[in-house]
Structure formats: C-alpha cells, structure tokens
Symmetry: C2
Subunit: 252 residues, 2 copies
C-alpha cells in the first residue's frame, strides 16, 4: 500500500490552496493531483471514487480518504509528526476557539466571498451566468463577516486571529478565502476590503509568515486576474508585461 | 469563579437543541439560559458580552466562552470526563471523518434546511417576509444534501453515519437540523423527506438512541407546529386536543 499523501486540488479553489500551502509549509511529502473544476474533472468516475461528494480538495493517505479542507488540515496535524503547535494548539481552550473560527467561516466569510466572486467575475468560467442581485446579497454577508473579523477575531494583541503571535490553520484558511478577492476589479476590491485596516494588515502578515509557499500556490490567481483585465495581451503572450504586472499584483 | 457550565440557547434553534440534548445525555451539569431570538434577545448588550457574534448557542464555562455548536460539542467532549468514545472517537481516522461530515453540514444540509424553513414557514416570526423563490432554491440544496446523506454518509453497515453502531456528535447535529422540518406542512415535508428511506430511518434511530432527552428538548417544535396549523385551538388553549396531537407529532 502506497502511503505517500495525495492531494487532489484545483488551485483556483481557496480551500485547495489552504491545504497545498499547509503541506508545503510543514515539509509534508505529497503528490498534487490537479482536478480542473472549470473542465468538470471533479465529476469524473475516477475522482468520484476519491471523493463521492465531487468537490475539491480531497486527500488519499494510504487507504484513507477525506474531504473538506478544515477536516483535512486537522487530520494532517494529527497524522504527520513534528508540526508546530501553533497551527492547531493542543491546549483545549485555544483549540476550541480555532475550531469556532473555522466553523464560523463556512456560512459567513466563505459564503460571502465565494458568492461575490462567482457572481461578479468567475461565474462564466464555471458555467454560471453573472448575477448582480446575488452579488449584492453576497456583498452584505461578506462585509458583515469582514466587520466581525476586524472587531472580534482580530481584536487581540497578536498579529493573528484570537491574539495569536503565530498563525493557526484558521489564519491560513481564512486568508486563502480572502485572497480570491484579488481577481475582482480593483475598485470593487478596495470598496470591500479597505474599510478593514486590521484585516488588510493581517492578510499581509499571514502571507509573509507563510511565504514563499503562499505566493507560489497563489500565483494562478494573479495570472487569472491578468487574463480578466488584459485578455488580448495574455492571448499574445506578452511576456514582458506579464512579468511586470505579476510583480505588482503579487504584493497583495 | 463559578465553573458550572452555562448554555445560552433558544430551543427554536437547531444547533441550540443539539448542545442541550448532548449535555443532558451525558449527565453534564449545566444551567440553560434562554435567549429568545424571536424577541431579539441575542442583540442585548448582556448577550453580546457572552457572544459578540450575537448568535445562539454559546457557552460560558468558568471564564471561557465559546460559540458555534460544532466547536462547543467538541469542547464538551474534551472538557468533561467520562463521555463515551462513540460521540467523538479518539481514533484519528474516525474523528477526521466525523469532522468532515460536520464541515459538510454548514453549506449543505444546514443551508438547505434552514433557508427552506425560514422562507416557507418561520420567516414572519423572525421579521423576514416569506420568499417562494428563495424557498425553491433552498429546496434544491436540501434535496441534494439529503441525497448525499442517503448515498454517502449513510452507506455503511451500522445504523448511524459513517457506518457507526452508536451515534456521534455528527448524528446528533444533523438530526437536530432535520427535525426542524417538522414545522412544515405535512405535504411539503413528505415530498422532501420521503424519497430518502435511510435518512428517515436514521432520524428515528438517532431519536430513539437519545431519548427521552431528545424529545424533551424538541417539544417546542411540536408546539410551534400546532400553533401554525391550528392557531385558534391554541389560542383557546384546548388542552385535550393539544395532548392528543402532541402524541402523534412527537413520533417523527
């Protein structure tokens, strides 16, 4: 039985990026298997055997398979030795608080960010029409979530969630969610994010604490952003412009 | 410092009922503090100190406070001695699978059931107009979630999720979600639930495994259902009819 971890992921999916970044950060040996959801590869019979829910990410570790990124991150902490305690502390109170943030994430930050991006920019690539009304409703959930992030989860002395001085799996998961806003029009992204100064700083701090892996895994977003903004230059493979834009955009 | 657990709950909220039922089942001494969300008690300054997110349920245990029902259930397993292993097994693989079901719950079963019930029946009591279009979209998510429950999570030899022979916190949490469908019109509830025979049996099995606590905590739903169906008889406090109906409805 081959025991090397397999990570089935689409780098356009924010929870996929969280799992990939975590594995690289912690020196976990793994094979990345690309599931291109824009080509509906997650619906293939082969992938249905891996994850019958047909979502990314999923892992196979020996004969054990698992889906849902939060559950995967928690499993990796238990299954691989030597992962630093700050990622998912053994202290029962800190661990419970991290779990609470991760649970909150689903119907708040994830719902808001994901539905906003799908309904303003990415929908057509995934076969959904853009929907301004749904986008406007999603923006309300997103803004309220950002406000709670700023006032509650980032209301501590440390640079990270819950006052932590080092990132946990909740920081990684939530920041991967927010970085997808990079594909929005600059003015939309600014309108949504800029009122939340602590959130903006925390995104940068988490990125800095997890680089170079964070940027490497997220590079695809900057390429997509450019394709959305400059379809002709991308089609012509304008190498020089690409590099200079990448430099600028990778600073988010 | 008083260490007795305080549970802030509204029995009309399905995650509140899951936490209350779990505490009673496991002999955890606690004080239940009612937060009536139909009267917006969750927005009071006193409750905001307990849970700044202003949602139910939340707990206070000594000087530790925590929100999000899944995180609370996991915390209770760690913080109170003697809770049977089947609720949240120490085995890393079973625990990871239970976590995966709980994570899946948020954007699937919870989203579908909650939005369907709010948009067909309960909205007005919470200050929202009924919305047939939103109800129809929620029904799609709910039906797809029920189908996945039936085909994937209940596709084992045992009577419970993931092939378990005894319930876990995932069984309790998901069944509390589904029991809220009790307040729907009988025909809507039948249309939605009856195609999923394993789901219907599993709801009954989980209820039987957790009674009498389960029914005691859920009694409020049967009273609300009756009020919705027979507003006049309830206003007249028709005691006899009430008892006989309760008997029938408590069999769900």
């Amino acid at each position: 039985m081959e025991k090397k971890l397999k990570v089935y992921a689409d780098r356009m999916s924010q929870p996929s990026r969280a799992v990939l970044t975590f594995c690289r950060l912690n020196g976990i040996e793994f094979e990345e298997i690309k599931i291109d959801t824009s080509k509906r590869h997650q619906l293939s019979p082969q992938y249905t055997d891996v994850n019958p829910l047909r979502k990314v990410p999923a892992i196979v570790h020996g004969n054990f398979n698992l889906s849902e990124s939060h559950a995967i991150l928690v499993y990796l902490v238990s299954a691989f030795p030597g992962i630093a305690d700050h990622w998912y502390p053994t202290d029962v109170f800190r661990r419970a608080k991290i779990q609470s943030v991760l649970d909150w994430h689903h119907s708040n930050l994830r719902y808001g960010a994901d539905h906003y991006v799908i309904n303003t920019v990415l929908g057509p690539a995934l076969g959904h029409p853009l929907n301004p009304k749904a986008a406007s409703e999603a923006e309300k959930v997103l803004s309220s979530s950002l406000s709670n992030l700023e006032k509650i989860w980032l209301n501590g002395n440390g640079r990270f969630l819950l006052g932590g001085s080092q990132p946990s799996i909740a920081d990684l998961s939530l920041v991967c969610e927010l970085v997808q806003l990079e594909v929005l029009d600059e003015k939309d992204r600014d309108r949504i994010l800029s009122p939340y100064k602590k959130v903006v700083r925390w995104i940068e701090d988490t990125r800095a604490a997890t680089n170079p892996h964070f940027d490497q895994v997220h590079n695809i977003l900057f390429r997509v952003k450019m394709k959305l903004q400059h379809p002709r230059s991308m089609d012509a493979e304008a190498g020089t412009e690409t590099s200079s834009k990448m430099g600028r955009h990778s600073k988010m």
